[in-house]
């Protein structure tokens, strides 16, 4: 493919086992996406360091786990009801205002 380069790399057994589960044509895209994610993380960490911040990796992992637990649909509905009460808007009107739809 134009612009692509070929490179021989070694993988640990657990990574290799995962790559074995992919179709042959998907391996390069899978690895490329992982490397791009890593590049983005490195840019983030570099920018944070420039601002004087050096987040602890374990605390960042704990924060990631907390943030991954998104509010449930029921909790989001409860929040809309609460804001509807506080604003005097109907829940439907508030949903429209917030772009939430039904």
């Amino acid at each position: 493919m134009i612009g692509m380069t070929r490179r021989t790399i070694r993988f640990a057994p657990d990574v290799d086992a995962r790559l074995d589960q992919l179709d042959a044509g998907q391996v390069s895209a899978y690895v490329t996406e992982a490397v791009r994610d890593r590049i983005t993380r490195e840019r983030t960490l570099a920018a944070l360091a420039e601002a004087g911040y050096h987040p602890d990796p374990q605390k960042a992992a704990a924060a990631a786990a907390m943030l991954a637990r998104r509010p449930s649909r029921a909790l989001r509905d409860a929040a809309v009801s609460r804001l509807a009460d506080l604003t005097g808007l109907s829940a439907g009107a508030l949903r429209d205002d917030l772009g939430l739809g039904e």
Partner: protein, 133 residues
């Protein structure tokens, strides 16, 4: 549509800008680790500048914050403006539009609110994720 994991209010932005809020950086990395973003409502950004004043170091940290790959500024849309305005109109303790914008952005996107204000908890269900700076 951008997938937000957390929303930074003016207090959180200002705390980050003063250099003493490791918790903000930690959660920004956390959001990045799960492939999500942090929202900076524009009203909160303006309020943060109002809090910080023209201190060059703080302004530079705000610039660096906004340049992070996982950070997105979010404007207040017309519908959100009505809800935010009504929240402030009916509740004398909610005097800062930025807090209302934070609440509305958090609910719109199902994101945690990161704040220095104890007020936010009064406007969201008790179980809503709130990270205090």
């Amino acid at each position: 549509m951008t997938d937000f994991a957390l929303v930074l209010d003016a207090g959180a932005i200002a705390a980050y800008a003063t250099g003493g809020a490791e918790i903000v950086g930690t959660h920004l990395v956390g959001a990045d680790m799960i492939g999500m973003h942090a929202a900076v409502p524009t009203t909160c950004l303006a309020e943060a500048y109002a809090i910080l004043g023209p201190k060059p170091e703080a302004v530079q940290r705000v610039r660096l914050l906004l340049a992070l790959p996982c950070v997105r500024t979010v404007p207040m849309l017309p519908g959100q403006a009505r809800a935010a305005g009504l929240l402030c109109h009916d509740h004398a303790d909610l005097t800062r539009l930025g807090i209302a914008h934070t609440i509305i952005t958090a609910v719109s996107s199902g994101a945690a609110a990161m704040t220095s204000s104890p007020l936010i908890g009064d406007y969201l269900p008790a179980e809503w994720p709130i990270i205090t700076v």
